[in-house]
């Protein structure tokens, strides 16, 4: 079972669009809008970077994860769009890694990160030979949906899946089996019954009890964050 490591203090980890494998009628409450992860933990970024400078890999991992949406937003502000965003995010992370000795913890972290991101964004725009398009209708431009997923989407999806996995693992044996086979693996009651040797009635009861327990544990976890 994978373990879940929560990042910096205040980092929200239940994001919009959660519950990919659970049925729509599962009863899990709808997620609420969240703030940017890194901005909520901005005060601890210099400390995390300082820890990274002395070789704390866990703090560094959490810091990099928090930086991903921030870098993405900064690159967008520079006019980077579409698939190039992911390249800029990765180039920025690599430059951050190489430049980590230049960071002074006495100074704020975000201007340091912004300088690197903006330079990498400009490099990307130059590489592609593109300049930001002229915008005649700012409102239409702002409202336009992006073609691809956000660079940090896969991180968030994994984190949500890991949280769900941890919650499922804490269920009693019968409920856990029912949730895993019926909800997550999308097997039928007959198939699950054959696999587990339990009756369909018992599986139904366990399934509904499991959903109820998950609803309680996940909503209490969400309330514990500063969403």
């Amino acid at each position: 079972m994978r373990t879940v490591r929560v990042g910096l203090p205040g980092r929200p980890f239940l994001m919009p669009g959660f519950s990919p494998a659970l049925p729509a009628a599962s009863g899990i409450p709808a997620p609420m809008p969240v703030q940017s992860a890194a901005l909520s933990g901005e005060a601890s970024l210099p400390a995390a970077m300082q820890a990274a400078q002395v070789g704390d890999a866990a703090a560094y991992r959490a810091l990099l994860r928090d930086c991903v949406p921030v870098i993405s937003a900064m690159a967008r502000a520079k006019g980077v769009q579409g698939a190039a965003l992911d390249d800029v995010v990765q180039d920025t992370l690599l430059t951050l890694h190489q430049a980590r000795a230049t960071y002074d913890p006495a100074r704020p972290f975000l201007p340091w990160l912004r300088a690197i991101t903006q330079r990498r964004a400009v490099d990307a725009l130059r590489r592609k030979g593109r300049r930001p398009k002229e915008v005649h209708e700012p409102l239409a431009y702002e409202a336009r949906a992006d073609a691809g997923p956000m660079p940090g989407d896969d991180l968030e999806r994994r984190e949500r899946a890991a949280i769900l996995a941890a919650a499922v693992a804490h269920l009693p044996e019968g409920q856990r089996e029912a949730i895993e086979h019926i909800a997550l693996c999308e097997l039928s009651l007959d198939e699950t019954s054959t696999l587990t040797g339990r009756t369909k009635g018992a599986l139904k009861v366990n399934f509904h009890r499991g959903l109820k327990a998950l609803r309680v544990s996940l909503s209490s976890r969400k309330e514990g964050t500063d969403v």
């Binding site: 079972m1 994978r2 990919p20 494998a21 990274a52 400078q53 002395v54 070789g55 704390d56 890999a57 866990a58 560094y60 991992r61 990099l64 994860r65 991903v68 698939a83 992911d86 390249d87 995010v89 990765q90 180039d91 992370l93 690599l94 430059t95 890694h97 190489q98 430049a99 980590r100 000795a101 230049t102 960071y103 002074d104 100074r107 201007p111 340091w112 990160l113 912004r114 300088a115 690197i116 330079r119 490099d123 590489r127 660079p151 940090g152 896969d154 991180l155 999806r157 994994r158 899946a161 890991a162 769900l164 996995a165 499922v168 895993e180 086979h181 997550l184 693996c185």
Partner: protein, 242 residues
């Protein structure tokens, strides 16, 4: 047991996730770089050491006489200040997030240096008895400037490479200006003649060559962070983007 966390792994390409993991796993402790001011002091100390090593070969009595002349005095001061200011600007520009305005710092001392040197151009007209330069001495000045600028530039580029210059050409050009100005300041004790228009031209050409060469080659040396070449992890990360 089925692991929901890995349930949908095959349906996505977790390139950024992999990169974060790779970077976290390859993390090693680093020693924080000294501040730009401190690094400027270290480099200035190296320049001073070169100057002290050259003292036995200098013309001290001639130096005293030349420094008594106001414009030569100011030109020497301008060269020294330009070297320090350009080195500080180069070190500042090598740290992400520092203000771009630092790049203008060498401008006032540069104006002082060139202005005071330019005044010397009038010397041949105002004081016909002044000791003017011979072509052979000009060549010596040029060789001295280039010869001293080179090791000082190399030292500066090596120090700048430890940081992360986001505008490598600008940083390298500032470094070139610092090295050329320091070489010009070190030349003062050996300068066998007073400033003239041709002398100023020789100095200017030497400075421009050093700045240009630094901007061109130093910029490439400092640009170790740009593009996929500098990536510490390859393979899956690149493949994931293709």
């Amino acid at each position: 047991m089925s692991d929901p966390a890995t349930h949908d792994r095959s349906t996505q390409v977790p390139s950024t996730h992999d990169l974060v993991e790779d970077l976290a796993q390859s993390l090693t402790p680093v020693r924080r770089l000294p501040s730009p001011g401190r690094r400027t002091l270290i480099w200035s100390g190296a320049v001073l050491t070169v100057g002290l090593l050259l003292v036995p070969m200098s013309d001290v009595s001639g130096l005293r006489a030349r420094l008594a002349v106001p414009d030569l005095h100011w030109a020497a001061l301008g060269a020294i200040l330009t070297a320090i200011a350009a080195a500080l600007a180069a070190f500042q520009s090598s740290v992400p997030g520092r203000s771009a305005a630092w790049s203008w710092l060498p401008l006032p001392p540069l104006v002082l240096w060139l202005g005071a040197s330019g005044l010397g151009c009038l010397r041949g007209w105002l004081a016909p008895a002044a000791n003017l330069a011979e072509p052979e001495e000009m060549r010596g000045c040029f060789v001295f400037l280039m010869g001293v600028s080179l090791p000082l530039s190399v030292l500066l580029v090596l120090m700048l490479r430890r940081a992360c210059p986001l505008r490598p050409n600008l940083t390298a050009a500032l470094g070139g200006l610092a090295a050329a100005a320091a070489a010009a300041a070190l030349l003062v004790p050996f300068h066998p003649h007073d400033a003239t228009a041709t002398d100023l031209l020789v100095h200017l050409v030497a400075v421009l060559i050093v700045v240009g060469l630094n901007g061109l080659f130093g910029g490439r040396l400092l640009d170790r962070n740009a593009g996929p070449r500098g990536r510490p992890v390859t393979g899956s990360i690149r493949k994931a983007n293709d």
